[in-house]
């Protein structure tokens, strides 16, 4: 019995971890690397989820292909938005929040006008894993794997490829990067596109598990923003560590008291984290590393 309870908690943790990481990565990359707070992040996820669901329902394509459509649609959408609006907001952090809030509002309402208050949901694939009297959705456990894979892939992209190195150079010192011949404008666009693609991926992956309504993006906001705050400026490590840390808290409190208690615990954890680590987990690591460098 105790073993099953433990298993329950473990699955709950994997579920929370996956949700936090996937809800956050897109937002974290755009915030950490470009200084844009994308309050329409949830609606980027919405685009991914809707594109996936619609292509699955209407075109009858296999789920994996439908998910790919979702990702591509969100990426294209992100690129268009960056060119039209977002690129005017670099360096205007608070303004970026206000404008993306406007975008969010318009998108939710446009979705409602075009598609109505809900779509038919894709059934959750893979069934469940049963143990004792319990069972747990295998798909949700698979999502934890997807989250880890996503982080690993991003790690490779940003540390091992020339694109990643150029992107990081742009973020660290735009002037210098430009003088070294990096097209910084394109770097911002590409980074925004990657952030959008990740939001699309999140939407695609969660499409079979959540109700398809125009305001579904709001489901992701609390976790995403809390994790960005707790993770701090170094996106990948921050998101991973925040996912682990907050995942644990969320799992335990959700397990004990339900979604609301879980969210309150997250919020409290965020406030405490900010109290003791003003620049997030990675800010602390960065601080120590910088002082070490200075010492040498």
């Amino acid at each position: 019995m105790a073993l099953y309870e433990l298993l329950n908690l473990t699955f709950q943790f994997l579920d929370s971890f996956a949700f936090i990481v996937l809800a956050t990565v897109g937002l974290a990359i755009i915030f950490g690397m470009m200084g844009i707070i994308n309050l329409a992040h949830g609606e980027f996820i919405l685009v991914g989820a809707y594109a996936t669901t619609l292509s699955f329902n209407l075109l009858g394509v296999p789920l994996v292909l439908a998910m790919l459509v979702g990702i591509i649609a969100t990426t294209v959408y992100g690129i268009i938005l960056e060119r039209l609006i977002i690129h005017r907001l670099y360096g205007r952090l608070l303004d970026s929040m206000v404008v993306t809030f406007g975008i969010s509002l318009v998108m939710i309402q446009l979705t409602r006008i075009v598609f109505g208050n809900s779509l038919d949901q894709i059934g959750t694939p893979f069934g469940g894993i049963s143990y004792g009297v319990y069972s747990y959705s295998a798909y949700r456990i698979m999502l934890a794997g997807a989250a880890i894979l996503t982080l690993a892939a991003l790690y490779v992209v940003f540390t091992r490829t020339t694109f990643g190195i150029k992107a990081r150079a742009t973020i660290q010192d735009e002037e210098t990067a430009r003088s070294m011949g990096v097209d910084t404008d394109r770097m911002y666009l590409s980074t925004f596109a990657i952030g959008s693609a990740l939001a699309g991926l999140t939407g695609a992956l969660y499409a079979p598990t959540i109700t398809m309504s125009p305001d579904l993006g709001a489901n992701f906001l609390v976790e995403a923003f809390v994790a960005v705050v707790v993770g701090g400026p170094s996106v990948l490590i921050g998101t991973s560590l925040a996912g682990g840390f907050l995942g644990t808290i969320d799992a335990i409190f959700t397990y004990v008291g339900g979604t609301f208690i879980g969210q309150v615990a997250l919020l409290t954890a965020a406030i405490f984290a900010i109290r003791f680590l003003p620049d997030g987990i990675t800010g602390l690591l960065e601080d120590i590393r910088a002082k070490r460098r200075e010492a040498q």
Binding site: I108, I274, P278
Partner: protein, 366 residues
């Protein structure tokens, strides 16, 4: 032309309300302010008590917008959580007034609603500002607080979620909230219909004038200095943490006041007041009207809410959202400061070539 003594009396009367921290310090401004107040005051006479009762909510929203304008425009704290204090005050009023169904209950409800909202803002502000939370992180946390409240109240549909007679009601909301009123026991007056309108108008005007005095006072300069550069202001011996804490708490109290006025207007509140679309509205009013102009924010709140009502349909939010994006990209500071800059620019251009004509020296603005 008035005599010197009456002119100086007017100047002395006006002095506390004026200063570089507020837009609109000219005769022209105060004249248009007077006209605006007069128009609002005779609105119920012109259009009847029913129209006044329906329109009252615009004034309530304007007050909510002012609560944000004050903390964001003057102290640089962008809060997406004004609706949290607004809603908490509304629910609190409901709980108190429903349970004590008498004038005493309503009066206590007003006090309790504002007090709980103020306390909530103080508590949150204390944790944030004394915890070293800054800038954009304050914004995120306030937003998260509103969203968490939304989640919480959404799941209070069950009968166990009732405080005495008052059921929280989940997404269906709390119903049967009494009208606004003051008194003790059975003796008192009920402020419904057009009276609610006048109560809201009085609250709005009093808040407007009070805040003008405040932002032009020493504390106002400290707020503006904190907005401009916190570290520097600290170096002049100001406790900026305390300044932000006090400002945020006042903002919470004002949002609470508007929340009480809101629930007594519709006799109803539900969790959608905390949702992201609702949380966005004060930010939209202040952004479009001009966050550094209280008057601009009030005008924008009334105009946008009115517009939304006229559009009465699904396109309202699309239009409002698009308006926000366009204004933020075209005039980042908002319409009222934009008009001020335009007038100043026109005046200087007129002054330069026409050297012998007595050019107006005061800006007419807002």
């Amino acid at each position: 032309m008035s005599s010197d003594s009456s002119a100086s009396l007017a100047a002395r009367l006006r002095a506390p309300f004026e200063g570089p921290n507020t837009i609109g310090n000219s005769n022209g401004f105060w004249a248009s302010f007077g006209v605006a107040v007069l128009l609002l005051a005779i609105y119920p006479v012109l259009f009847g008590p029913y129209a006044a009762a329906t329109s009252s909510v615009f004034l309530v929203y304007a007050l909510l917008g002012v609560s944000l304008c004050f903390i964001w425009g003057f102290c640089g704290i962008l809060s997406f959580g004004q609706v949290a204090f607004f809603g908490v005050a509304g629910y609190t009023f409901g709980i108190v007034a429903i349970n004590l169904s008498s004038y005493t209950g309503v009066t206590l409800g007003i006090v309790a609603g504002i007090a709980v909202a103020t306390l909530f803002a103080a508590l949150l502000g204390y944790f944030m500002f004394y915890g070293g939370v800054r800038d954009v992180y304050v914004t995120i946390i306030t937003l998260v607080v509103a969203l968490v409240l939304h989640t919480f109240l959404g799941q209070t549909a069950g009968s166990e979620w009732a405080v005495g007679e008052a059921a929280l009601g989940g997404f269906n909301g709390m119903v049967g909230i009494p009208d606004l009123g003051v008194g003790v026991g059975d003796v008192g007056i009920t402020l419904d219909g057009a009276m609610h309108y006048y109560a809201a108008l009085a609250a709005l005007i009093a808040t407007y004038l009070g805040l003008r005095v405040l932002v032009n006072s020493q504390f106002g300069y400290a707020m503006v200095a904190t907005r401009e550069d916190e570290a520097r202001t600290e170096m002049f011996g100001y406790n900026t943490t305390f300044i932000k804490f006090v400002t945020f708490t006042i903002g919470g109290a004002l949002a609470g006041l508007s929340g009480v006025l809101f629930v007594t207007w519709g006799n109803y509140i539900d969790p959608s007041e905390f949702a992201i679309t609702a949380a966005a509205m004060p930010v939209i009013w202040a952004s479009i009207g001009g966050r550094e102009s209280i008057f601009g924010t009030i005008a924008a709140a009334i105009a946008i809410q009115w517009l939304e009502l006229q559009l009465t349909g699904e396109w309202a939010l699309v239009i409002v959202g698009s308006l926000l994006i366009i204004v933020m990209l075209a005039i980042p500071k908002g319409i009222a400061p934009g008009i001020r800059d335009l007038i100043v620019a026109l005046q200087t251009r007129r002054q330069e070539p026409a050297s012998d004509s007595p050019a107006p020296t005061e800006e007419v603005s807002d």
